[in-house]
């Protein structure tokens, strides 16, 4: 049985379609990523799956429980770490855990041991009696992950768990998530707009854009599906008017695009394309300010499937997320 089965989920806010007919499934013990810019519909999708928002149509089954007909079963089976920091700053770490343990009906005899074990696993045991308002963002997020596990759920939902965290805290959270998967049978669904996060953490990634599922596969296969293996990035001076057209003819070039001053050349053989590029610039008297080659990234995958990069999509798509109105 799949841990999560999403079946034609749609959510409309008036005329606005926030999530449009999305279907996918997540296998047990899988780390599944929903990747997309702010406003793509990720949070709305996760809120429907976690029973926080009713779907307009379609349904989902979480650990076999239907979100429409068995919301209580869903809530018992999952742990949720919402995008907003939901731990109570006026309570200590232990108190936050304790209140949630009681809300989930964790037996009294198991509570203390479980809470201390979980706090230790997120490296917060020495801060167990400190008020959460004294915690850094990373500490608070780790506490919330521990709190989401207090009732030993089978599935963990993390909505943009590293947004707003510094690089060190982000790395800590990633390590925690990996450790969780190794230590337990937990299935993890994570939403993110960070390419590197999705690439490093997820077994499979669903790219969501404008409320629709644009692509779904493993990171490797998604990268392989893009018709080039490398990307050459370069900046020029004194380039002639037909410079882009001339670059199209470079060896192994699979397409040229320009964003701002940076030219991106998709290539089947990056080093060979760079060599040809150098020859061409010398011949045409064009000055090269910078040139670099990198393998295909998820950013390239995103551009390939959505027609824009994540940053552009975020600018254009922010109005899609109406769920934030609640906060």
């Amino acid at each position: 049985m799949n841990a999560i089965e999403v079946d034609h989920l749609t959510k409309k806010f008036g005329d606005l379609v926030a999530v449009s007919d999305i279907s996918f499934h997540v296998a047990q013990k899988e780390i599944f990523g929903l990747l997309g810019p702010n406003g793509a519909g990720k949070t709305t999708l996760i809120r429907m799956m976690t029973t926080l928002t009713p779907p307009t149509s379609g349904t989902a089954r979480i650990a076999g429980h239907d979100i429409r007909t068995d919301a209580d079963g869903v809530r018992h089976a999952m742990g949720v770490i919402p995008q907003a920091m939901t731990s109570d700053p006026e309570l200590t770490a232990v108190e936050n855990m304790l209140i949630h343990a009681k809300l989930y009906g964790v037996p009294r005899q198991d509570r203390d041991r479980l809470i201390l074990d979980l706090l230790e696993s997120v490296d917060l045991l020495k801060f167990k009696d400190a008020l959460v308002r004294t915690f850094s963002g990373g500490m608070r997020r780790r506490l919330e992950i521990a709190r989401g596990l207090v009732h030993s759920p089978r599935i963990l939902f993390l909505d943009e768990p590293t947004t707003g965290l510094d690089p060190v805290s982000r790395t800590n959270v990633w390590q925690m998530i990996r450790a969780l998967r190794e230590r337990s049978d937990l299935t993890i669904l994570i939403t993110t707009h960070y390419m590197d996060e999705a690439d490093k953490l997820c077994d499979r990634i669903a790219i969501v854009d404008h409320g629709k599922l644009a692509a779904l596969d493993t990171p490797t296969r998604l990268k392989d599906s893009v018709p080039s293996t490398d990307t050459v990035e370069a900046e020029f001076e004194n380039a002639p008017a037909d410079w882009i057209a001339q670059l199209q003819g470079l060896a192994h070039s699979a397409g040229v695009t320009q964003r701002d001053e940076v030219v991106h050349i998709a290539s089947n053989d990056g080093p060979a394309t760079v060599a040809a590029l150098m020859d061409l610039t010398r011949a045409r008297g064009v000055t090269v300010h910078r040139v670099s080659v990198h393998g295909t990234t998820l950013d390239d995958v995103f551009v390939h499937y959505t027609g824009s990069d994540l940053r552009d999509a975020a600018k254009g798509g922010a109005h899609y997320d109406v769920g934030h109105l609640y906060r």
Binding site: R75, M78, E90, I99, H100, Y326
Partner: protein, 372 residues
């Protein structure tokens, strides 16, 4: 219904409450301060009002009248007598606010007195301040009554006399106000817990953390109202004891009366907390409860009879008093603190408050959104 979940929410709020001395102080200090300031400001007797005395008769009888005024000035000190030679000057000073009343003994006072021809004393008052003018008038009327009393009392008096029996000892205004202050402390807790904190927690996203747990809508509503009720009970009882000692309520530690006081404060807390929760159940903006605090305070506290008798209100204000939970709280608390009644003096108020709470809680169940 899972009581462990309800208790978890109550426990959360109580931990936060005890950890926030500022919150505890606000809920108790504000009503206590109001009790002391208003209690002593409104409860005192009026003294030292300037009164102009114009003697145009210059007779033995007019001097007798003057002596009686002097007696008031040195005894109860309701007014200070200032003698004037000129009536127009005294009236001018009355109009300019230098004196609050003018007493004039006319030239023919002694002649009329001896001829038993309805001797008169003129009294002019500044009636822009009803409290002062009625207080002076009461004193002057007492003196006139005394002047009319015959020197020798008839052996068989034919006049009807009223014998007054006061059932309770004299009640100072601060004692009268105490019930309203206790109710106000409960209201402040409801306003902070059911209004401001609830919306703040919602705005900060804390509620989302609870909505993803298996807690049911009814449990959430009862847990939040229950938390406010416990806090209201604590604040109300602290104010009852401290306020009672300040106001001088006799036998404040009587355990039976304390039990009934706790009962009334508890049902009042449920009523006000559920009322506040119903008002705020669909509100998301943290500014709303703050903006409505003053409005609700005025609309609930003053029409309840806490500071002035409901019987003096116009009809429309009496209607507000009828649906105001403050009214029944104040009535029951006043019966307990001033009259020392038992359950027979409060059971109707308790039933009304419980009925009111049931309607409010049913409304909360219907309107509270379990989803975002």
């Amino acid at each position: 219904m899972n009581f462990q979940r309800i208790w978890a929410l109550i426990e959360r709020d109580l931990r936060k409450f005890f950890r926030s001395p500022a919150l505890m102080m606000t809920s108790m200090v504000f009503p206590l301060m109001q009790l002391v300031v208003l209690g002593y400001a409104f409860g005192g007797k009026i003294v030292g009002v300037n009164l102009a005395f114009v003697d145009m008769d210059h007779s033995v009888e007019s001097r007798n009248v003057r002596e009686m005024f002097n007696g008031i000035a040195t005894g109860p000190r309701t007014f200070r007598v200032i003698e004037y030679d000129s009536l127009p000057k005294a009236v001018e000073d009355l109009k300019n606010g230098h004196v609050r009343a003018v007493v004039c003994v006319p030239e023919d006072f002694s002649r009329r007195f001896y001829h038993r021809d309805r001797p008169r004393i003129a009294f002019m008052e500044d009636n822009t301040d009803q409290f002062i003018s009625s207080s002076i008038l009461e004193r002057v009327q007492q003196m006139v009554d005394q002047l009319n009393t015959p020197d020798v009392t008839p052996r068989l008096a034919g006049q009807v006399q009223l014998d007054t029996v006061e059932v309770y000892p004299y009640v100072e205004y601060i004692k009268y106000l105490l019930a309203g202050s206790i109710a106000l402390s409960v209201f402040v807790v409801a306003m902070i817990g059911g209004g401001i904190t609830f919306i703040d927690d919602k705005a900060r996203g804390l509620h989302e953390g609870y909505l993803v747990t298996p807690i049911k809508k009814t449990e959430l509503v009862l847990g939040l109202i229950g938390a406010g009720t416990v806090k209201g009970l604590m604040a109300g009882m602290v104010l009852t004891v401290i306020g009672g000692m300040i106001a001088g309520i006799p036998d404040i530690w009587n355990p039976v009366r304390l039990f009934y006081l706790a009962l009334v404060v508890t049902v009042a807390s449920i009523a006000m907390m559920s009322f506040m929760f119903l008002l705020m159940v669909r509100v998301d903006d943290p500014l709303v409860p703050r903006a409505t605090f003053g409005v609700l305070n005025t609309l609930l506290f003053f029409p309840s009879g806490a500071v002035y008798p409901i019987q003096a209100f116009p009809r429309w204000l009496r209607w507000i008093a009828i649906i105001d939970p403050f009214t029944y709280t104040v009535h029951a608390l006043r019966n307990l603190t001033l009259k020392g009644t038992g359950i027979e003096g409060i059971y109707m108020d308790v039933l009304v408050l419980l009925g009111f709470s049931a309607v409010m809680i049913a409304g909360c169940f219907a309107l509270f959104k379990r989803q975002l």
